[in-house]
């Protein structure tokens, strides 16, 4: 496995002069920050990415498994996340609860996360303790003991987590209902990452151990190490600790190419706990992997210029000029193994109705579709996106996050490297064509959050 030298993120962008749309401003941004990434793959299929940085004597290890809540089936929702919790519950080498204690005892911090498409485990620790965390992370890739004794209290913890994140938060409850319609009831991305409460109560040893066996294997994982280390050192340790773990047969990751079939729809959550109403609309949208993927870059520019900052169209017109909204936003996330969504939202100004907001948003959308976008606003959006990418190189956590997300959602290291160039070559026409493709009535759910009379 030869090491492949790579210029990460902003690599290849010294060709900035050849990228015409935005000329010198972008080229200047491109030239300033680059980070070297090195990649290799172990014989058992574990993909490794090393992002050396000498800034502080610390390292971050992240192991990302290519499995998330969208790989669950109805009736077993929450399994990916429940398993994430159980990964701290012990192996023969490391007793239950000890993983984090050992990391902490050695001056480090650790945690984990679950998304629709991935599950990640990360530690940040003194550079000389890299071996310790690699040994322990490799150990729990295959040796976790899932027992009823540990599941019982942890189930309560997860139900409390659900209460905190979802049941206590009207906007989260609305989001659950909206996803069910947008992606189609019981389909991937329609079911909540943390799971439905009934499923969490039902999941047991067999479900979780089965999920672990089916999805946790070196050939279904990405190891990312960032910080004060070298590719040679990481390779040596990876071979020693992850190398002996056998590969497993991994089933295909299935994602529907269609979303909800009964669209458009409107969901209204009237809730006594809502103080300020909110209007939003979500459209099914292509990701980097599914649907009309050619629009994935133009949609990022569209979200930015339409509602991505306080100089965007929605902010300027709805908030500054017409005073219909208190704030307005648009967002789009292309990193998904299946379909994704393009979202627009507005908090109405006092005494403005949700109908007025909807009319104003619709008028702005029509204006963009009919009148196009200016070269200047496209360039500004591209600059904002690229600037954010440059600043993200200033933090140790962002590199692993970017690569982990990309590689668990079907993108490649080359895709990550090419991102700045692809963003900077998006044209005005592509932005409008992408908007026309996504802003279709039969692909949308309108989500209303409104105050209800207080029932106590």
């Amino acid at each position: 496995m030869p090491l492949t030298g790579r210029r990460a993120l902003l690599g290849g962008l010294l060709a900035g002069a050849a990228l015409s749309p935005s000329g010198p401003a972008l080229a200047k941004l491109f030239a300033v920050a680059r980070r070297n990434a090195e990649t290799f793959t172990l014989p058992n299929g574990l993909q490794v990415i090393v992002l050396p940085s000498r800034r502080a004597p610390i390292v971050t290890q992240v192991v990302v498994y290519k499995v998330g809540s969208a790989d669950e089936s109805f009736g077993h929702t929450g399994a990916a996340h429940f398993l994430e919790h159980m990964m701290f519950k012990g192996t023969d080498q490391v007793p239950a609860g000890e993983f984090s204690r050992i990391v902490s005892r050695n001056g480090g911090r650790d945690n984990a996360y679950t998304t629709f498409d991935s599950t990640g485990y990360h530690q940040t620790i003194a550079a000389e303790q890299l071996e310790l965390v690699m040994r322990m992370e490799a150990d729990r890739m295959t040796n976790v003991r899932i027992t009823e004794r540990e599941i019982v209290p942890e189930r309560q913890v997860i139900l409390e987590e659900r209460r905190m994140r979802t049941d206590n938060v009207p906007a989260s409850l609305l989001d659950e209902a909206v996803r069910e319609r947008l992606y189609g009831l019981h389909k991937p991305y329609a079911m909540p990452i943390i799971g439905y409460a009934d499923d969490i109560k039902r999941l047991g040893v067999d479900d979780l151990a089965g999920f672990y066996r089916r999805h946790y294997a070196p050939n279904n994982a990405i190891l990312i190490v960032a910080g004060d280390t070298t590719a040679e050192q990481v390779q040596k340790l990876a071979e020693r600790y992850y190398g002996p773990i056998a590969r497993r047969e991994i089933g295909p990751r299935l994602r529907p190419s269609q979303g909800g079939t009964d669209l458009p729809q409107t969901v209204n959550r009237a809730d006594a706990r809502v103080a300020e109403p909110r209007w939003s609309r979500l459209w099914l949208a292509p990701s980097y992997r599914v649907g009309e993927t050619k629009y994935a870059y133009a949609l990022q520019v569209l979200a930015r210029l339409f509602g991505g900052s306080e100089t965007s169209r929605l902010s300027r017109v709805l908030v500054q000029e017409r005073r219909i909204g208190l704030s307005a936003w648009a967002s789009y996330g292309p990193s998904s193994l299946g379909l994704t969504s393009f979202d627009i939202g507005v908090h109405p100004a006092k005494s403005r109705s949700l109908e007025e907001v909807e009319e104003a948003v619709t008028a702005e959308m029509k204006k963009l579709l009919d009148g196009g976008v200016t070269a200047e606003e496209v360039e500004r959006a591209q600059n904002q996106l690229l600037a954010a990418a440059i600043y993200s190189q200033d933090s140790l956590a962002s590199g692993p996050r970017i690569y982990g997300t990309a590689l668990s959602t079907g993108s490649t290291v080359a895709d990550v490297d090419a991102w700045p160039q692809r963003i900077s070559t998006v044209t005005r026409d592509e932005v409008v064509a992408a908007a026309r493709h996504v802003w279709r009535d039969n692909g949308a759910v309108t989500a209303l959050l409104t105050p209800a009379a207080r029932g106590g």
């Binding site: 401003a25 941004l29 300033v32 920050a33 940085s53 000498r54 800034r55 502080a56 004597p57 610390i58 984090s100 204690r101 990391v103 902490s104 005892r105 050695n106 001056g107 480090g108 911090r109 620790i125 003194a126 550079a127 209290p153 942890e154 189930r155 309560q156 913890v157 409390e160 987590e161 209460r163 905190m164 049941d167 206590n168 006594a272 706990r273 809502v274 103080a275 300020e276 900052s309 100089t311 908030v319 500054q320 005073r323 208190l326 704030s327 908090h347 100004a349 006092k350 500004r380 600059n383 904002q384 600037a387 440059i390 600043y391 190189q393 200033d394 933090s395 140790l396 207080r454 106590g456």
Partner: protein, 441 residues
């Protein structure tokens, strides 16, 4: 660096991180030609300059009848300056890929600037404009006021926010720290552009300034830029501090009803000032009790063993005129009473037994090592340098910190635990529909 290495060698086995940390951050103190003092860590590894700074006086010194004016003013500093309205000012920031922002805490008016070093000239010019020629255009004042009021209304429905607010109102009744930093609708309504201008002039004083800079910039260049941005600010009388806080002397339990399935609980006792000789013993005690991460006694007893909560932790908070030790958790309405009892039992156990030898050792290793973990971006390093100055520490503190932590003994921790963890000084706030929690007025 020589003495450092020697010290490090002496502590080698336990405090392996020390030389590396100290080597990673070499702090220089500079004084500009116009007399502005700043701390600088020059770091060419990323092409970024990050500035963290603040001025004396925060929301606790909001004038009577103008609750919220300081934070509103802080936000408006970047909503138009000089000949530029808010949109034009923002576009110039975007063109330079610069990010500039202000906010107010109880004691200080804080600001930060982040800019590519290639664009630093423009970044520091925008900072100068925001500080010396802010506009407070009436349309922007109205917009920010409306946004702030909406966010106050929203916070009033979030159990965690309500608990935080209620705790401060209860602990600091009659003191300036009781007031919501965001203000009140009435106070915000009273904040006219003229009063906002006046408030800015009262606080933006050169003699109240603390600055830290990190990144791809040398001493001479930083001095030039700081004089450009801050040099025109006047000196003047700094806002007077709030009175010293008199902590409560009897236990209280406050319940605020909200229609939610999970109650939020906050528990607080008077804490320890940052300059107290027992600070490091308190830091160790807090780490073992409920400090960050997943190793603490509270995490183990409340979450791991009993599954009573997802989130449970404790922390030390310091203000200019007060200090708190805070514990927080959230649990189903039916179980929050039990969670609170477990936390109280752990406070009691810590008070009577202190920590074990092993806990002491582990806490020291963590607290020594964790410093380096926070040095992962220019902004976070600038933030650390800034807070060190607020705390009155010297630049060589980073080289002495490990020894201060190492010197903490079991007795020190026991003493500070007895002093802090007193039931009779405990204020508890529960927000939700808790079952079996009785108010103690």
């Amino acid at each position: 660096m020589k003495p450092l290495r020697a010290l490090a060698a002496a502590l080698a086995s336990l405090f392996v991180l020390l030389p590396a940390v100290a080597g990673a951050i070499e702090i220089r103190e500079i004084t500009t030609p116009l007399g502005i003092k700043a701390w600088l860590v020059e770091d060419k590894s990323t092409p970024v300059v990050a500035l963290s700074f603040s001025f004396s006086g925060g929301t606790a010194t909001d004038p009577a009848g103008q609750a919220g004016i300081t934070d509103l003013m802080a936000g408006l500093l970047t909503d138009g300056a000089g000949s530029m309205n808010a949109q034009a000012f923002r576009q110039r920031q975007e063109n330079a890929a610069a990010s500039l922002g202000f906010n107010a805490s109880l004691d200080r008016l804080n600001g930060s600037l982040r800019v590519l070093s290639a664009n630093r000239e423009e970044g520091f010019e925008l900072l100068r404009l925001a500080l010396t020629e802010p506009r407070f255009d009436p349309d922007m004042v109205a917009q920010r006021r409306a946004q702030t009021i909406a966010s106050i209304n929203q916070a009033a429905q979030r159990p965690g926010s309500v608990a935080g607010r209620t705790l401060m109102e209860t602990l600091f009744a009659g003191h300036a720290y009781a007031a919501d930093p965001d203000g009140t609708p009435e106070g915000l309504a009273a904040a006219t552009p003229e009063l906002l201008k006046k408030r800015a002039a009262e606080l933006l004083l050169r003699n109240g300034l603390i600055v830290a800079a990190v990144g791809d910039i040398g001493e001479a260049e930083l001095a030039r830029q700081l004089d450009h941005s801050f040099g025109l600010l006047p000196t003047g009388t700094l806002p007077s501090l709030p009175q010293q806080w008199v902590p409560p002397t009897k236990p209280r339990v406050v319940v605020v009803e909200r229609p939610v399935p999970q109650s939020s609980a906050l528990m607080a006792v008077p804490g320890i000032p940052r300059d107290d000789p027992d600070w490091y013993a308190a830091l160790v005690m807090n780490h073992v009790l409920g400090g960050g991460g997943q190793q603490s006694r509270l995490f183990n007893e409340v979450r791991e063993k009993r599954g009573l909560a997802y989130s449970v932790s404790s922390g030390l908070r310091t203000y200019k005129r007060a200090a708190l030790l805070l514990m927080s958790t959230g649990s189903a309405n039916e179980r929050i009473g039990e969670a609170i009892e477990v936390i109280r039992a752990e406070m009691g156990r810590m008070r009577t037994e202190g920590v074990t030898e092993a806990e002491l050792t582990d806490a020291k290793t963590y607290l020594t090592g964790a410093l380096a973990l926070s040095l992962d971006s220019s902004g976070s390093i600038a933030g650390l340098l800034h807070s060190m100055q607020i705390d009155g520490l010297s630049p060589d503190h980073l080289t002495r910190r490990a020894a201060l932590i190492a010197a903490v003994t079991l007795d020190d921790v026991r003493k500070v635990a007895r002093h802090l963890l007193r039931d009779e000084a405990l204020t508890t706030v529960v927000v939700g529909k808790p079952v079996g929690v009785t108010q103690v007025p």
